[in-house]
Symmetry: C2
Subunit: 356 residues, 2 copies
């Protein structure tokens, strides 16, 4: 256990991309969408539990999900669940955690991780994290974990690196490139995916927030005495509406000269889409990823998810996702998944909110 | 009201063909599969309610469904629900009703109808029935209602007639012909579909049962004093296991010289398959028959049925049936519907009875 090491789990996402399984009142981080028996947030917590004490974990989430966090992580005290009144992207989220940590422990080192990613090789991951912690502490740098890309995925951010192995200084950030660009990135060997997992000393991130997001920083600074006191919630209620909504990548990392990336290969996916879930699932000889109780014939390359105890009988589908929940049935070509968003938008307009 | 006119509704079917909506514990006759707001058996009852008093209605069903019948037809006394301990096809069913009627009213005229057919033109139907009643009473004949065929359907029985209009003597019966034969039948103009709806005086059918099914007849005859008494149920328990399982068509109508057919055209379907339900349903411009709450794109010629309040989002299907129930989801090409039976058979073998 390293008592100066703190874990910040970002769990505020409303995650509509696994609709209709994910819902506004139960987004992805609280789901066991892989069927492992544990939610994503639970897996995220346990991934660090061997070396970060439960008392050193903070979860930043929307206040609407505080009870869900407490339910999934009963080891935490309610004070460790940092509630955002509204979502303002990752920069204010990390600023909030940093000001809380500053009040708790001036020597804190912070690991920031999304609550809902898939990581397959946990030993490799742990070794990478340890290396990043050491580097961040030794050099006062902002460490990002970059993922060796296995394909020209256009859904991820790319980081240009200077060394292909180990730790290197970051050259450029590119958000979701088009396919041609992604292909050239992957071919060059000079780019890694941005995992959204970061390691830094709390003093470093506070300094860089001050340098590159002075407006946001000063909002928090003005109330800094109130963090880790009963008045913190009211302070946050004053601060958040005034914060600019911006990611830590855009707001700080793209500007700071302290940013380094560790090139990693620990079997990572942000599982942002049904197709990526399919990619990471066990598939039978017909290429189908099926729940129990699904009987198929002439069916190939499909992802089928059904409620427990439900029987599904399917014939003649290729490359479809079939997602059945208590109140929504989705049957959609896997390759057209991005269009589902149009459906949910339409539902919003047409009084279909209860299905979102 | 015609007090000598009695209606016998045959409602014993276990009807697996609308699986997974129809179930062993709730077969088709008790379902509102067309979404009209009323079950098939209720529609059947109401079709006659203007001119047959409720007290003149008998329903023959399996004892397992007696409560369901009472629930759907609260106008009936429990004594009007004739319970078969086991299914023995239509000849014993009609014999049972005939012996009950013999005890009730020696001058009864019986209309026999399945509980689960679709009839669109109820006025035309009523006029045809009236004509058949008059003819049956005047001539002591066994009247069947034949349907002018609109296509060479291989799922129906065909009756060869001598006159193309009105009432004519029956020349031949042919059960479910192959397609070539069905095509020649329809082309000839000499054949009508056998609707399974019959009209006869009770004395006539009893006489013909005696002539052509003497074994079955004598089983009932031996207990005839017990019909319409408290001992009837025990008598039936003795009779039924000894009865040969045979249809009234095979057992009596194909042999009797008293059989006449009324050539009818009242918009009839036995709705024996999802495809026939699709055929008889309202379809949108894309040829889809959809429940409320179904959103489709690039989807044509599909039948989609979902539970109330459930949303379905479907893209890219053509000529499919999608049937979603609380515990079963069926996605199947409409043209391959007959294969679903193999699935239900497999379920029977593999401990899946609860889904049947």
């Amino acid at each position: 256990m390293d008592n100066k090491l703190y874990l910040v789990i970002m769990a505020g996402g409303v995650g509509s991309r696994f609709w209709p399984v994910s819902r506004q009142n139960k987004p992805k981080q609280f789901l066991d969408i892989m069927g492992t028996g544990k939610s994503f947030i639970r897996h995220t917590y346990e991934r660090f539990a061997d070396y970060i004490p439960a008392s050193n974990v903070l979860v930043v989430t929307n206040s609407a999900y505080a009870d869900l966090v407490a339910e999934h992580l009963p080891e935490l005290d309610r004070s460790q669940i940092l509630c955002e009144p509204i979502g303002r992207n990752t920069a204010p989220c990390i600023a909030y955690a940093a000001f809380r940590l500053a009040a708790l422990d001036p020597e804190a080192t912070m690991i920031v991780t999304p609550a809902d990613h898939l990581i397959l090789d946990e030993n490799e991951f742990r070794a990478n994290i340890a290396e990043c912690v050491e580097f961040a502490r030794g050099n006062g740098s902002l460490m990002t974990l970059g993922i060796k890309p296995s394909r020209p995925d256009t859904g991820y951010g790319y980081i240009q690196i200077s060394n292909r192995e180990g730790i290197s200084q970051v050259r450029t950030f590119t958000e979701k490139p088009n396919l041609t660009l992604a292909q050239s990135f992957v071919a060059s060997g000079e780019f890694v995916w941005n995992s959204g997992i970061f390691v830094w000393q709390n003093t470093t991130i506070l300094q860089e927030l001050k340098n590159y997001l002075p407006g946001t920083f000063s909002l928090f600074w003005a109330e800094k005495e109130l963090f880790n006191t009963p008045a913190e919630e009211e302070a946050i209620a004053r601060i958040y509406p005034q914060c600019k909504s911006i990611s830590i990548d855009y707001g700080v990392l793209e500007h700071s000269s302290q940013v380094y990336v560790r090139c990693c290969d620990f079997g990572w996916s942000d599982l942002g889409t049904w197709a990526s879930l399919y990619q990471n699932s066990y598939k039978d000889e017909q290429g189908n990823s099926l729940d129990r109780g699904v009987i198929t014939s002439n069916t190939t390359n499909c992802l089928v998810r059904t409620p427990e105890e439900k029987l599904a009988v399917i014939d003649g589908l290729d490359d479809y996702i079939v997602i059945d929940t208590d109140d929504v049935l989705l049957i959609y070509p896997k390759s057209k998944e991005q269009e589902i968003k149009q459906v949910t938008t339409r539902l919003q307009l047409e009084d279909g909110e209860k299905y979102l």
